[in-house]
């Protein structure tokens, strides 16, 4: 297993470099270092000299990928790409271009707020979606199944924004049961987290239930289920004991890959509920044209994605003995 993981990690290196190159290319295509300087220096009275100085002071006066003025290793190392991307390999995210804050520290501080919404949503969503999906699969072909599916399709067709604004209106404003938005630290944060978690759960239920129901129905058509029924097992036992266990591979594919992203946060949820997580950190950085943060967050996203894929592969071996590392 260890050699498999090492091999996968080695495969990840060119992917990560590629992601970094693409990020730099795309970012500088839309947003040159001059644009960044003007944005950060302010809208008024920005002289060309001030722009040049800002670039010098922040290391953006170098060529993007190849420095023909240098010799030897300097051709590669004395470039914006190398100077800004190389430290990422040892997770030194550097300082923000805009306000000089330490990005790594900011990420470590903010990820807990993202996790505070992401983790309960993740756990409850799995439980609720699996439970409802199994009920619908169990009741397949009945009126309840038809209506359940219909409601699921409606729920997945509605934008998350509707659930957010609706949730804030009904539970926050009309019923006055929960704070409309906000965040606090420690245990005080719980009252602020209930509404976003409820909204996120409602938002994910339609698609989740439909997906898992399909998985279960696929399993219930297999030979081993027919055998289980033939030997006289009850439907609930067949479904909850036999089908559930064997449906775990597609379930895990869906679930494990998203575990690392629990830290990453949600752009819309964090914005509407004023949660100071990594989602709002990223969107703020894009708006402020802060390449240092955007680069760090994209890098972190690609790392998390690779971790998610590796975790998924590992989890397969836990639920399916036929899957082995090669």
């Amino acid at each position: 297993m260890l050699s498999y993981i090492i091999r996968r990690l080695m495969y990840a290196v060119p992917i990560i470099i590629g992601v970094n190159v693409l990020t730099a290319l795309l970012f500088f295509r839309v947003n040159t270092p001059d644009d960044m300087a003007r944005k950060i220096l302010g809208e008024k009275f920005v002289t060309p000299a001030a722009v040049e100085n800002w670039k010098k002071d922040h290391g953006y006066d170098l060529p993007a990928f190849i420095n023909t003025d240098e010799h030897g290793a300097g051709i590669v190392t004395q470039t914006i790409f190398f100077q800004k991307s190389a430290p990422l390999l040892w997770f030194d995210f550097g300082r923000s271009d805009r306000n000089n804050i330490d990005i790594g520290r900011e990420i470590r501080g903010r990820m807990w707020a993202s996790l505070a919404i992401g983790l309960p949503t993740f756990i409850f969503a799995i439980i609720i979606n699996l439970f409802l999906a199994m009920i619908l699969a169990y009741l397949r072909g009945t009126l309840l199944d038809t209506w359940g599916l219909f409601i699921c399709v409606i729920m997945m067709s509605i934008s998350i924004l509707f659930y957010i604004i609706g949730g804030q209106f009904f539970l926050g404003k009309a019923l006055r049961l929960l704070p409309i938005s906000g965040y606090d630290t420690g245990l005080h944060s719980i009252k602020f987290l209930i509404l976003p978690v409820i909204v996120a759960l409602i938002g994910s239920t339609g698609a989740g239930v439909r997906f898992y129901r399909t998985v279960f129905l696929e399993e219930t058509g297999r030979d081993y289920i027919r055998t289980a029924r033939a030997k006289g097992l009850g439907e609930s036992r067949v479904l909850f004991k036999h089908a559930l266990k064997n449906a775990m591979i597609p379930v895990l594919t869906n679930v494990v890959v998203s575990i690392p992203f629990l830290f990453y946060g949600s752009l819309i949820m964090e914005s509407f509920f004023s949660i100071p997580g990594l989602g709002s950190f990223t969107i703020d950085a894009i708006q402020a044209q802060d390449f240092a943060i955007v680069r760090s967050m994209v890098y972190l996203g690609s790392i998390l994605y690779i971790i998610g894929l590796i975790l998924t592969d590992i989890s397969y071996t836990l639920v399916d003995p036929r899957v082995v590392f090669d």
Binding site: R38, N53, G94, I101, L139, S181, E235, S274, P276
Partner: protein, 645 residues
């Protein structure tokens, strides 16, 4: 208020009204009060031997420090003139990247030279470090670990001098009456040397404990907590000097109750909490719930909050009034305008026909309609760059733009000239029905950065208005970076822009039309690239005058020249709407002042009572929902059992 002494080239004193060209030096000698003390801060804490306690923190000491509050020892010291001089020198520090340096170095004696010297030294330090490190040199990483710190004491600045412990002198290279406004801005706040030394520790920077997050000052409030992603908390500064609520004000202030707290010690509030709310809807709802003391009004909430009365005056709706919420409106010192590129062959130029073409377009773009459709009526059409409240803005008949408006003497209001009049101007301009002499339709490109949702309607509106004159407006929306690039290069014909006052002086608006401030030619803020020699000549005279009837007469002449040339479609001045709860006292709109928090008083018990009353939970609908959900679950179980049976 500091008053400058003017000196000529030989150092002889000149009278205050001396002509600007005769003034070689303007000397501001500023005396500070002796009883001002800084807030308590770890930077001032000292060891028994008198050396700073926290200026050389070790790795071990810093391990458990998460914020400035983790440094328990605090002290203060008195404000001295040296702190101001240090801050002025600091503006020249290239690593501070002060946004006002390009402006102030034009005025403060030696500031430009100081900047160049520091820049030279910085380059030398970096070169040395690079040569030492070789190809592996990484400037950002290197300066993260070993920040480059300038010892300001080693640099002299002839334009900022300490006279004695409580007096400092600023010397300007020319007469610049607007300098008084700059002195009131944060760039001139005093900076204690100890504080800079404290924050220059790279280990503290790595913990995000920096001067911008935890500033040190002498004002009424101190930064208790700085988390811009969630909240910023200010607390009353216990070292704040004796400061009392004003005993007199503007006419009407007494009747409005603004002088009820006269003579009382400031500040009134012990703690101010600023919460980050990114979205307008939750922010508005929380204001209505009483969790925010004041609020603006977004366009989504406007109809819920404001209605226009019979006289067209904004009033709050009964829903808002019943909550005891009050409305305050004020015209902002801002001008949103559209403009022409005066360097363009088609829309630019100064011939009579070009003037008439631009005047016709200015008439057709009906900003009264614009404000109604897109701004809930929040604004007033502009006659010139000068918004109300800025010297030179004239109300009534005398203040209108006669090329676009006539005066309705019956109603005593300006009346926009008719479309027929505009079409007549088009004929005189050589574009009858929007076509040139060869019958080709006149096509004008419109550059903007209106990429947001809903802004497509704005563009359509402009296209429709140009079409009224037969002109085809070709929209060229781009992102803001590309838009700015086009403006800098002069690659545009018609554009939209805005300007917010830096300080309340007409110079700060009229320089937007000054030839030497042209964006294309001089990289300035005159985006229209307007250049009228007479306007520029009058500007030079007006710029250095104090507000007086003579200055007003010059401004009037300048405005008339610009109105005739019409480099801008004069746009509008936005109207700010502010709402505040009944428990908030002493709020008076002031778009220029930044220190009004100290005057605000709160009736906390009324607020607490209102919050309780307005936010009683309603459990009945929840109970009903639970019953219905229970019914569905019961039905499901019954169905499952039936199926099993």
């Amino acid at each position: 208020m500091p008053t400058p002494r003017y000196l000529d080239k030989s150092g002889r004193s000149l009278p205050p009204e001396a002509e600007a060209r005769r003034v070689a030096r303007a000397v501001y000698e500023i005396k500070i009060k002796k009883d001002i003390r800084y807030e308590d801060h770890p930077a001032f804490a000292k060891k028994p031997d008198g050396t700073p306690l926290y200026n050389a923190l070790t790795d071990k000491e810093i391990e458990d420090i998460e914020g400035i509050e983790d440094l328990p020892e605090r002290a203060t010291r008195g404000l001295i003139a040296e702190d101001y001089v240090l801050q002025i020198k600091r503006m020249a520090d290239p690593l501070v990247a002060s946004p006002v340096l390009p402006i102030l170095e034009k005025y403060i004696l030696g500031l430009k030279e100081l900047e160049l010297k520091m820049r030279e030294d910085l380059t030398a330090i970096r070169k040395e470090r690079k040569e030492k490190a070789g190809p592996s040199y990484n400037q950002s990483l290197d300066e993260q670990l070993n920040p480059i710190v300038f010892d300001y004491a080693k640099y002299s600045l002839p334009g900022a001098l300490v006279v004695d412990r409580y007096t400092y002198r600023i010397i300007l290279k020319r007469k610049y009456p607007q300098f008084i406004y700059w002195l009131a801005m944060p760039f001139f706040s005093p900076m204690p040397r100890e504080v800079l030394e404290f924050y220059n520790q790279s280990k503290l920077m790595a913990k995000n404990i920096t001067l911008d997050r935890y500033p040190v000052g002498t004002g009424p409030f101190v930064m208790k907590s700085f988390n811009p992603n969630m909240e910023i908390i200010l607390e009353a500064n216990k070292n704040y000097h004796e400061d009392r609520y004003p005993e007199s004000g503007e006419p009407g202030d007494e009747a409005a109750g603004f002088l009820a707290d006269s003579g009382k010690r400031l500040p009134f509030i012990r703690r101010a909490v600023y919460k980050l709310e990114k979205e307008a809807i939750p922010r508005w709802n929380k204001f209505l719930q009483g969790y925010y003391d004041n609020s603006g009004i977004s366009s989504e909430s406007f109809d819920q909050a404001v209605t226009f009365g019979a006289a067209g005056r904004p009033e709050i709706t009964s829903f808002i009034r019943d909550k005891g919420i009050k409305l305050q409106t004020s015209v902002m010192p801002t001008t949103y305008y559209a403009g022409f590129n005066m360097l363009d062959d088609v829309v630019g130029g100064y011939s009579v026909s070009k003037q008439k073409l631009r005047q016709a377009i200015t008439i057709a773009i009906n900003y009264e309609e614009y404000l109604e459709i897109f701004n809930n009526g929040r604004g007033m059409p502009a006659f010139s760059p000068l918004p109300p409240g800025i010297f030179g803005h004239i109300e009534g008949k005398e203040g209108i733009n006669p090329f676009v408006y006539t005066w309705d003497s019956k109603k005593q209001v300006p009346h926009r000239r008719s479309l027929e009049y505009a079409k007549k101007l088009m004929i005189e301009a050589g574009y009858p029905a929007g076509r040139d002499s060869k019958g080709r339709p006149l096509e004008i490109t419109f550059d903007n950065a209106w990429t947001g949702p809903g802004q497509a309607d704005l563009i359509k509106w402009y296209i429709k208005k140009f079409k009224l004159l037969g002109i085809q407006l070709v929209n060229r929306t781009t992102d803001y970076n590309r838009f700015q690039e086009k403006m800098r290069g002069g690659n545009f014909q018609f554009f939209s822009w805005g300007w917010n006052a830096d300080y309340p002086d007409p110079e700060n608006f009229l320089f937007l039309l000054l030839g030497s401030n042209s964006k294309v030619r001089h990289k300035g803020e005159n985006v229209a690239n307007y250049m009228n020699p007479e306007f520029d000549r009058l500007f030079d005279i007006m710029e250095n005058m104090d507000n007086s009837p003579k200055r007003l007469a010059i401004i009037k002449k300048m405005l008339r020249i610009a109105q005739k040339d019409s480099p801008w479609v004069w746009g509008y001045h936005p109207l700010s709407f502010g709402l505040y709860h009944k428990w908030v006292k002493n709020i008076k709109p002031n778009a220029m002042a930044n220190n009004t928090l100290k005057y605000i008083r709160l009736d906390a018990s009324t607020r607490e009572q209102a919050r309780k009353e307005w936010n009683k939970p309603r459990f009945l609908p929840v109970a009903l929902f639970i019953i219905i959900l229970g019914g569905i679950i019961l039905f499901s179980i019954t169905s499952m059992k039936r199926r099993k049976g």
